[in-house]
């Protein structure tokens, strides 16, 4: 098992270097001089320009520059924001919990609704439940989620007035961000109504971000389940006289989950892409909105660093899913 994990990490290294090359190349592909871009609107004196060029190493050969960039990354130096002058990594770390909280809520919704729905649809194949569920899943899969979010705002915030339109919590409340998760922090703070407020802010973005993963997971679970239900070992389980529920929930589901776990892992990328749109609509102060804002502010070091950091998050989660896959699939584990 340890060797299995090690081999997965081994595969990751060249991909990481490649991702770093893409991020490195990004700022050099930009039209215009990177130093002029970074110095912003105010302009820059020729002396300062030369000084900066030496300082940032732009006068050195490209491979050396890349080496410096790479060693910088390994020491946690992802550059500094042009706008706020703060290190990119620091900004990322303050904003990431918001995105993480939103993503966790979304993937939890998606898994806990999607898997049972897919299993039920497979068991009752061809029934009205199956048809409605799969129709809904395909609709969800086809959904432009930025529009879906606006629609929910119109209905729940505008028409019903149930939920707030933006942010993570009402401005009435203020408490230290111990964990960075608003749900937990609001509980710790002990302030009356804070937790309720946090939940009501989270509901709509959570639903919006969950939509596509939910649809994908439900569809994948159904097809994996259908395949497994036709297997010989399911017949064996039934021939043992096991209750139908046990046959499905133990013998069939355990096998069907193997491809489903891979699918769930692949949703990290979908969640990150979705976060860009969801956070923009709901003014959710996470890394998705941060990236969009930085693109518009021409804060290129942030775009560069954020791109790399998000890719790293995706890669690490995929690695974790690979390892988890090894744990739930005995054929991989026992090799």
């Amino acid at each position: 098992m340890f060797r299995f994990i090690l081999s997965r990490v081994g595969i990751l290294i060249p991909t990481f270097v490649g991702v770093a090359i893409v991020a490195f190349a990004f700022i050099r592909l930009l039209p215009g001089d990177p130093i002029l871009l970074m110095s912003g609107e105010r302009g820059i004196s020729p002396e300062r320009y030369a000084e900066l060029q030496t300082l940032l190493g732009y006068d050195r050969p490209l491979p050396l520059q890349f080496w410096d960039y790479l060693t910088g990354l390994l020491q946690g130096d992802f550059g500094n924001s042009v706008v706020t002058r703060r290190p990119v990594l620091e900004e990322f770390m303050t904003l990431f919990p918001a995105t993480l909280e939103l993503s966790l809520v979304a993937i939890t919704l998606a898994v806990f609704i999607g898997v049972p729905a897919g299993v039920l649809a497979a068991i009752k194949r061809g029934s009205w439940f199956d048809q409605i569920t799969m129709g809904a899943a395909l609709t969800g899969y086809s959904m432009p989620i930025f529009w879906w979010g606006l629609l929910l705002i119109i209905f729940f915030s505008g028409y019903l007035g149930w939920t707030p339109v933006s942010g993570r919590i009402s401005l009435l409340y203020y408490f230290p961000q111990t964990t960075g998760f608003m749900l937990i922090d609001s509980l710790i703070s002990g302030q009356e109504g804070a937790f309720r407020s946090a939940v009501s802010h989270l509901v709509l973005p959570g639903i919006v971000l969950a939509t596509i993963p939910l649809a994908v997971i439900a569809r994948q679970t159904r097809s994996a389940m259908l395949e497994v239900l036709g297997e010989d070992y399911v017949r064996t389980a039934r021939a043992k006289g096991l209750p139908a529920f046990r046959v499905v929930s133990v013998h069939a589901l355990r096998n069907a989950l193997i491809p489903v776990v891979t699918t769930i892992g692949l949703q990290v990328g979908v969640l990150m892409a979705g976060a860009i749109l969801t956070e923009t609509i709901f003014s959710w102060p996470g890394i998705g909105k941060w990236m969009v804002d930085s693109v518009f502010r021409r804060d290129y070091p942030v775009v560069q660093g954020g791109l790399l950091l998000i890719a790293m998050v995706v890669m690490v989660v995929n690695l974790a899913v690979d390892v988890l896959y090894g744990f739930i699939n005995p054929r991989v584990r026992a090799r």
Partner: protein, 325 residues
């Protein structure tokens, strides 16, 4: 009282192109401790009939019978809960593909002990003891270690031994073995067959052996049913079946046995079992029968009596003079 009685069992599948009768008028009785062989080519409905008895067919299948009783209990309108109490306990089944019949995600021990827990209500320790006992009984060395093994770590022969251990876990009265040796190497086939017969004698259980191998039948079974295209074409005691087959299909199966072949080439039966779309008129075997004439091609053959092996044929073979008339 017989252990199992089936009269006029039919199984119909709903398919995209209309209903398909996979088993048509299947009859059998089985005494406790008896071994019955059911032979026929693939597609002859021999497995489907038994799966129907076990209640393991998909919902697209409709099972009807005039009688279907096990230990005097009517198995036709039986509720799912009551059926589960019998299936896997008093009546167990093993399958053709041992490798894919074991769940790849669970250990051998888990899968054996599961039956013991559900049917025998044994406690944890007793389950473990019994599981080891069972693996020893099916001839697996190092049973302690095998209990922790996953199916993909076992060979085909070992998997089938595990399947047999699982099926016999609750000391069944009837074991249905559906082509238990077909997927195995030739050397392993004999071992598994011997094991089945030994277990059958030790436990005094009845066994239904589904196979397409006449040799297997000759070695083990006491009585034989021959199935063709969902129909029962002959039923006889094993000795007389081999000396005096009454249906041309039985005769053809016998002459296709390597042990019996006389010429340089092994005789084969030309053609294939008719499927859903290409059922002939009259006798279903007529396109492949060397003796078929106009009558066979138009009129459905009658069921002959006991002395002629209940053969489904216009012109039964080995009919003594005066009997055929």
């Amino acid at each position: 009282m017989s252990l199992l009685t089936i009269k006029n069992l039919s199984v119909t599948f709903q398919t995209a192109s209309g209903p398909f009768k996979a088993v048509d008028g299947f009859n059998m009785t089985l005494q406790p401790g008896e071994i019955l062989g059911i032979v026929g080519e693939s597609g002859s409905g021999k497995s489907v009939a038994m799966l129907g008895l076990m209640g393991l067919l998909p919902p697209t299948a409709t099972v009807t019978a005039d009688e279907m009783s096990f230990e005097g209990r009517d198995m036709r309108g039986i509720g799912a809960r009551e059926r589960r109490r019998i299936v896997g306990a008093a009546m167990a089944m093993i399958f053709q593909e041992p490798m894919s019949s074991l769940n790849p995600c669970f250990t051998v021990g888990f899968q054996i002990k599961e039956s013991l827990r559900i049917h025998m209500k044994l406690d944890r320790k007793a389950r473990h003891r019994r599981a080891i006992e069972l693996l020893e009984a099916v001839g697996l060395p190092e049973p302690e270690r095998r209990l922790k093994a996953y199916p993909h770590q076992l060979s085909g022969g070992m998997s089938q031994r595990v399947m047999i251990a699982m099926a016999t876990a609750c000391r069944p009265k009837l074991l249905i073995a559906d082509e238990p040796t077909t997927a195995l190497d030739v050397t392993i086939q004999a071992q598994i067959l011997d094991l089945l017969v030994d277990l059958q004698k030790d436990h005094g259980m009845a066994m239904i052996l589904i196979t397409h191998d006449m040799g297997v039948v000759a070695e083990t079974a006491q009585r034989v049913i021959v199935q063709y295209a969902g129909q029962q074409v002959e039923a006889q005691g094993v000795e007389t079946l081999f000396t005096e087959p009454h249906h041309p299909y039985t005769a053809a199966l016998l002459s296709a046995m390597p042990e019996r072949a006389t010429g340089d080439r092994l005789p084969t039966i030309p053609g294939v079992v008719p499927g859903q779309g290409d059922r002939p008129n009259g006798c279903l075997f007529n396109p492949r029968c060397p003796k078929a004439d106009a009558l066979c091609r138009t009129v459905v053959p009658p069921r002959q009596d006991e002395t002629l092996g209940r053969a489904l044929c216009h012109y039964p073979l080995n009919a003594r003079i005066g009997e055929a008339a």
